[in-house]
Symmetry: C2
Subunit: 132 residues, 2 copies
Amino acid sequence: MTTTQELTAGLDDLPYNVFARVCPSRGTLEHVTGRWGALTLGALYEGSLRFNELRRRVDGVSEKMLSQTLHALERDGLVHREAQPTNPPRVDYELTPLGHGVAERLLALIHFVEGSMDDVLAARERYDAARA
Amino acid sequence: MTTTQELTAGLDDLPYNVFARVCPSRGTLEHVTGRWGALTLGALYEGSLRFNELRRRVDGVSEKMLSQTLHALERDGLVHREAQPTNPPRVDYELTPLGHGVAERLLALIHFVEGSMDDVLAARERYDAARA
């Protein structure tokens, strides 16, 4: 466990601060945590995947949204796109070292949320019952 | 550093799986990682805040969006709303223990993204230059 102090110390001293609306880190955080960005990074954490493999893994994503998501992550330097000189041509996507660092922290969050769902669903029932 | 194996082992054995489109954990992940959800949890990690204090901290959020965000987080059992019996009435928001666990992992991610922004911005310049 990290202490509150370790996590928040110096937050406001960093040159980048997601709490400030003009900071570019806010955009990157959104690429990383957006519905499809988060699932794409999580899927690629296990290894490189082709476009259609990714599409199957990220259940529900459209071709267009996955393509946009991959472009944003590639532009931010989190995903590397590698066109293989094969016939037919084949494109692999993999995490960069920076993307790996982001995905690791994201998966820790995803795991925690998945492991908390019994409590979350019980809280929703209480909330809805109190307002029924 | 956690190993890949530790992070991904058993992911598919959990009763909840964000990669499946019908899983309720996907909705909770979105409440937690959505633009305003993430910043609200991060702000409350430092302690309880009143509505207007939160609004100032989460730069750019509208009253309506902050209110919706707080309701979703309260319903998921991540935020506790406490109406103080004062005159004028005063409402404090604070993290529940579950919300604290989520916020801790979220802040680790936010910190990492903020600390990576020099690399992200350099990657964007390279990406745009290669396509100019």
